[in-house]
């Protein structure tokens, strides 16, 4: 009997757990260790954050699903990995601290034969002074954050109706943030909410981003075909900003958020401050606070993880400068080079470098989006890793399954307003996620698989994805037919 331990129960961890149990059956143990008791469909937090959807529609408790599927669920935060075991453990094991009410901090040691690290991001609000809900700005990264943000928005709209004029600042709270797509979505949903409330003409909406140009989205932008021409996501996004009357501040690294004032540095090295009445600024991510120790108890975290705390996998971390970057730098199997029974999926794996062109201000400040690896790629990577482990458990001598981000596409639907008849969204596809300039020298991506369009149909698509992925995550009948 093999024992598979999965750390984390987000898109990657939950996908891995459900597929692993389905493929391995009851003869093998699948154990999930996650500090959260609920699963959250994070893309719909945007709608919670503008008061269009209650929190209950984007979360559900994990324990009943895992009980139904025969998955062992430990509501706990993994804090240590011991890949070589110890005198007391012949196998590798994980140390986890309970987050269950009444048992907080209780430690347990869980042995494994295979381990998948799907711990996702640590929301690093501390990287910028005053950033975050405990500081002076808002967030939609968790359902609780989004709910709080919606209350602030409702109050702001009331103040505008009472005669005030207000400035809303939405974007990234640090020069190395990722998830610019989420900031984009919140910006346009905010614009939509203000228009619906009839107060848009009394509000300024400012998009403050670390992207050097609009439409970068952390993937270096897109080139796609529209009405017989190749166009760029830059022009396409700028047009949307102009249409909706949204101002943009680009190439910005927030240095401090004070009550009502955000301070930022731009790529040209200049420093600015901007007053606001409402600010939703996303944090940068870092890896979970997870340490690794060898059999003798020596700390080997710097060998297992990169400096940001993400697990090193089969990527080329020595590519050097931007001019040397190649598609082959990106990992394929997501296996740790040190321990062949440890894998990472989703945000938890260490990318070899950014996807967007790296940029630094004259003051030495890095202002470049980190590579996104959420959503569809996250689920596909998790499934490939599970398939590799299942093969090994069953003694199939096949090579490891591969899911390189340079070979997979992604569908991204960025909401721009939630309404069944009046909403809209930017529906984008890209193939591959990481551009391959050797294979596609003019565009970086396959034009047949890369597209973008704005309209009501995009909103229907976004809503359909919400329904399908919640159905799948709840492991309802035939859930596995729904692709990642």
């Amino acid at each position: 009997m093999a024992k598979l331990v999965i750390l984390g129960a987000g898109v990657a961890g939950h996908t891995a757990a459900l597929h692993a149990k389905r493929m391995l059956g009851s003869h093998h143990d699948v154990i999930v260790v996650s500090p959260n008791s609920n699963w959250n469909w994070i893309p719909s937090n945007i709608w919670v954050g503008v008061g269009k959807m209650p929190v209950s529609k984007v979360v559900f408790p994990l324990a009943p699903v895992y009980k139904k599927k025969g998955i062992d669920f430990h509501q706990a935060r993994a804090v240590e990995i011991h890949p070589e075991g110890s005198d007391a453990h012949q196998r590798g094991y994980v140390v986890a601290e309970s987050t269950k009410a009444g048992q907080e901090g209780t430690r347990e040691e869980i042995e494994y034969d295979y381990l998948i690290n799907c711990t996702g991001p640590k929301l690093n609000f501390g990287a910028t002074e005053g950033l975050g809900p405990e500081g002076n700005s808002l967030s939609v990264c968790t359902s609780a954050h989004a709910e709080e943000t919606s209350k602030h928005l409702a109050a702001a709209i009331e103040r505008i109706k009472a005669g005030e004029k207000m400035r809303f600042v939405v974007g990234t709270g640090h020069g190395t943030c990722t998830c610019e797509g989420a900031a984009f979505e919140y910006t346009f949903n905010l614009d939509f909410a203000l228009r619906e409330a009839g107060v848009r003409d009394k509000a300024e909406v400012v998009y403050l981003t670390n992207e050097a140009q609009l439409g970068d989205f952390g993937v270096g932008g897109l080139i796609f075909t529209q009405q017989g021409f190749q166009t760029t996501s830059k022009l396409w996004t700028e047009s949307f900003f102009r249409e909706r009357g949204i101002q943009a501040i680009l190439g910005a690294h927030c240095t401090k958020v004070e009550p009502g004032v955000v301070h930022y540095e731009q790529l040209d090295g200049s420093f600015h401050e901007l007053s606001f009445d409402f600010a939703m600024l996303l944090p940068p991510f870092r890896g979970a606070d997870l340490k690794a120790y060898d059999r003798e108890g020596n700390d080997i975290s710097d060998k297992v993880f990169n400096p940001a705390g993400f697990l090193k996998v089969d990527a080329n971390y020595a590519a050097g400068g931007y001019e040397n970057w190649r598609a082959e730098d990106w990992p394929k199997t997501y296996q740790s080079p040190m321990y062949d029974n440890i894998f990472a999926a989703g945000i938890a794996f260490a990318p070899p470098h950014q996807i967007s062109q790296p940029r630094t201000s004259p003051n030495g400040t890095v202002i470049t989006p980190a590579p996104p690896r959420t959503g569809m790629p996250s689920g596909m990577i998790a499934k490939a890793v599970v398939q590799t482990i299942v093969d090994r458990v069953k003694g199939v001598g096949a090579p490891a399954h591969e899911a390189p981000m340079t070979g997979m596409g992604a569908a991204c639907v960025a909401s721009a307003g939630m309404s069944f008849l009046g909403g809209s969204a930017a529906a984008m596809t890209m193939h591959p996620v990481v551009p391959d300039w050797q294979k596609y020298p003019n565009t970086g991506r396959d034009l047949k698989g890369t597209s973008g369009e704005i309209g009501l149909a995009g909103h229907w698509m976004k809503h359909l994805l919400h329904v399908l992925f919640l159905y799948k995550a709840k492991a309802r009948p035939f859930w596995w037919i729904i692709p990642e």
Binding site: K165, M166, R167, R195, E196, G198, R200, D201, K202, A203, E204, V206, Q213, L214, L235, E238, S239, F241, R242, E243, R244, G245, Q247, A248, I249, L250, Q266, H272, L274, S275, M376, M380, H401, E402, A403, G407, M408, G409, A410, A411, L421, G422, S424, A427, T429, M430, H431, K448, G449, S451, E453, I454, G455, L456, A457, G458, W460, M461, P483, E484
Partner: protein, 70 residues
């Protein structure tokens, strides 16, 4: 009342920021981008047309998903 059109430029700065104070290069780039025509804006909300686009987006996404799952 729902505002369903581009805002006049003077309404972008209701708090009185001057464009030169707030990343003038970005503002110029945005203001130089093409605006959708009234017909395009109508198409984006036309139920019949959007039903067709919904089907087309589904096909595109299925194609991308299909080419990514090995």
């Amino acid at each position: 009342m729902m505002v369903d059109r581009p805002l006049p430029i003077h309404q972008l700065f209701v708090k009185g920021i001057d464009m030169s104070d707030i990343d003038p290069q970005s503002q110029q780039s945005v203001m130089a981008a093409p605006l959708p025509t009234p017909a395009t804006l109508k198409h984006r909300k036309n139920l019949f047309y959007q039903l067709l686009r919904f089907a087309a987006i589904n096909v595109k996404m299925i194609r991308v998903i299909g080419s990514s799952h090995h």
